[in-house]
């Protein structure tokens, strides 16, 4: 057995000294981001740092595996693990792209109104994708329909034409850090608003709007 596989790539985040993470923690972060993205109605902030680190780990491991003889038992374990991580990673990225396609005008609008220094929702690649998607949709609408319309009906405001993410959707969540005094808005006019405490480890069903900030700061996990 060559030593190639004994190097578990723990050199991760060397360039990012403030926040040292083991590869296992990194994978856990990716899985959290994956589930949150899958279940939240809106596009969440991009985790390109995590994505890049995971990619790095995978390429590192794959290049090690290249040097290993065929039929090595250890190599097959590693390959299986790589496949599993790759699955989570692509599922995560795919669910983000789906949301970008669904909400592209709003996503781009948020990007436009973003103040300098505020983190962007989109990774540079996703931003390029969203812009291109916007242009292509517009061109397509023009080519097939709009240019045959009367002159005063030839423009379409995509921001109004494409539905916004529905933040009032209900979500299931598990609490990772205890939260007090979460205000629950009433469903109907004859009910009153009330306050709940979210205990660590407890699970809840409530509106996404109420917990959106807690999702983005990692205090709760969508399930």
């Amino acid at each position: 057995m060559s030593d190639a596989l004994s190097d578990d790539g723990s050199d991760i985040n060397q360039d990012d000294s403030q926040d040292v993470m083991t590869p296992a923690e990194l994978i856990a972060k990716l899985e959290e981001a994956w589930l949150n993205e899958k279940f939240s109605p809106e596009l969440l902030e991009n985790k390109s740092e995590v994505v890049e680190c995971v990619m790095e780990q995978l390429t590192h491991m794959e290049s090690n595996l290249q040097r290993v003889k065929k039929g090595d038992a250890k190599a097959s374990f590693h390959r299986m693990e790589i496949d599993r991580i790759r699955f989570v990673l692509s599922s995560y990225l795919r669910s983000r792209l789906q949301k970008i396609e669904k909400f592209f005008p709003h996503v781009l609008e948020r990007e436009k109104s973003r103040v300098e220094g505020q983190p962007s929702l989109l990774s540079p690649e996703e931003f390029a994708f969203a812009k291109e998607y916007y242009t292509n949709t517009e061109t397509y609408l023009k080519a097939v329909a709009l240019k045959r319309m009367p002159l005063n009906l030839q423009t379409v405001d995509l921001l109004k034409a494409v539905p916004e993410p529905c933040l009032d959707s209900f979500v299931f969540l598990r609490v990772k850090e205890k939260q007090e005094n979460i205000l629950v808005e009433p469903e109907t006019d004859d009910q009153r608003e009330y306050i709940v405490d979210l205990e660590e480890g407890s699970q809840h069903l409530m509106r996404y709007r109420t917990v959106a900030p807690l999702v983005s700061n990692g205090a709760v996990q969508l399930i």
């Binding site: 190097d7 590869p23 994978i27 590693h78 299986m80 539905p163 469903e187 699970q203 409530m206």
Partner: protein, 186 residues
Amino acid sequence: MDPSEVEFLAEKELVKIIPNFSLDKIFLIGGDLGPFNPGLSVDVPLWLALNLKQRQKCRILPPDWMDVEKLEEMRALERKEDAFTPVPSLYYMEITKLLLNHASDNIPKADEIRTLVKDIWDTRIAKLRLSADSFINQQEAHAQLDNLTLMEINTTREFLLDSLNFMFKLRSNLQPGSSKGQLTDY
């Protein structure tokens, strides 16, 4: 979420196996495993255990809770209580299914266990349906769902959440002057 994705998450759970080969410690990205020695039990994630089992390289030891007596107790408790009782594993259903499908020769009294777990599952799902029904009837805005597992949530997720969204939209359009939740989505 697709049930197969919940199963994917369940495959991360650790199980004990008794390998029939020897191998040094291996350093996976997600953590170290091994060393493997013939006859000595070692913890591995379920995905690896099943793979080794299929290649006839190990015997899988059932988790502690996968035991007829313990499951009978659980079933009795689950039927007695109105609330969801704590489960031995967040992925009890998936683990049972995977182990019984791929390693039933390593599980003593496999058929009884299959029936017991199915009974527990059915009782819990019935409770879940009841509570979903009262949640909607009372027009609640918040519910606490401790001890419910991901697979259980997943059986009702789409139907329940979509219905709630629709009802919310219909209701908020009934209240004059309310601009939230207009029927713009879809």
